[in-house]
């Protein structure tokens, strides 16, 4: 092989990236070619100073702290995002549980009770409309009667307890 064919392999030769056959070819040629020996020596020196330059570069001392501070902030944000999902997940779960109960056989009783209560509340709501302004008086009389019945029941209960104690 001549110089033109061998020289493109010089960098790989220096870097130890040639096959054993290629390595021998280059070594044999260089041994008998002073100009290639000079080029190879210059490329070796270039490689050496290049590695020297790169190794003389060091990262700033605080870069580690900066990275870790950013990671800590990221983790806090992630945690806050996770916590913000809790109410939404709880709501979905609650809705799913209620839906499951209502769709189950036991839910039939709940549905019937709910309908009854709904109808009853609807009926009560129509009373003021039917009675007009009189509903206030009816409501007051009903409340007074309820209080009177309650007081009478309490007094009667007290009397019966008193008589039991005397006996």
């Amino acid at each position: 092989m001549n110089c033109h064919e061998v020289r493109p392999m010089f960098t790989a030769y220096i870097d130890g990236a040639l096959s054993p056959g290629e390595y021998d070819t280059v070594a044999r040629h260089v041994a008998g070619c002073p100009s290639c020996q000079a080029l190879l020596a210059e490329l070796e020196e270039t490689t050496f100073v290049l590695v020297d330059l790169v190794e003389s570069t060091t990262a700033p001392m605080d870069i580690e702290q900066r990275v870790m501070a950013e990671i800590q902030a990221l983790n806090q944000t992630r945690q806050a995002n996770r916590l913000s999902l809790v109410p939404a997940i709880a709501g979905i779960l609650g809705f799913a549980i209620i839906a499951a109960i209502l769709l189950s056989p036991a839910g039939m009783i709940i549905r019937v009770t709910f309908r009854l209560l709904y109808r009853a509340s609807g009926g009560i709501a129509t009373v003021p409309v039917l009675l007009g302004h009189w509903w206030v008086i009816v409501f007051a009389i009903s409340a007074l009667m309820l209080i009177w019945f309650s007081v009478a029941a309490v007094l009667r209960l007290l009397r019966s307890v008193q008589s039991e104690v005397l006996l």
């Binding site: 010089f10 960098t11 290049l50 790169v54 870069i63 800590q72 990221l74």
Partner: protein, 178 residues
Amino acid sequence: MDQNDINLIRAARKGDTNAFAHIVGNYKDYVYRTALHIVRDCHDAEDVTQEVFMKAYKALRKLKDERTFPAWLAQIATRTSLDWLKSKRRHPTTDWESEEEIRGDTGVMAVTTIEVDQALASLSEEHRVVTLLRAVYGFEYEEIANILDIPIGTVRSRLHHARLQLRQYLKEERGDER
């Protein structure tokens, strides 16, 4: 890459942030070197380094084999640095930095080191990237081919042309001085 690094990566994948802090400590120089020599500005390189580790932290669970971590990290570092450069070209804020601004105030450089730094800056992006992956991480040609998703022959050819250009640049610089 030793067994300790593999254990740290495994622990970090399980959410151990202290383990990730150790990984940052072990690899920060590699990432910073890659970023600095691509973006050519020490402040930008710091931001890129930070961004690279954040990307790595977020995507660490996707890493299938812990032993491929250095190549995986180098890939993130290279792509992030190149994206940063593209973005900066689209939205330029300042003029190209002076040598002092590139290096920062981290130390005094030898004359040869400054020359090599300038020589490295004179390379095209594609030549600079392969040169850095070889010089910073010591990756084999096949690994560089996988990282950059290019044929191994292209890696070999780019590395050789880059080394020839660096040699030529240094020769001219020294020829002027002597």
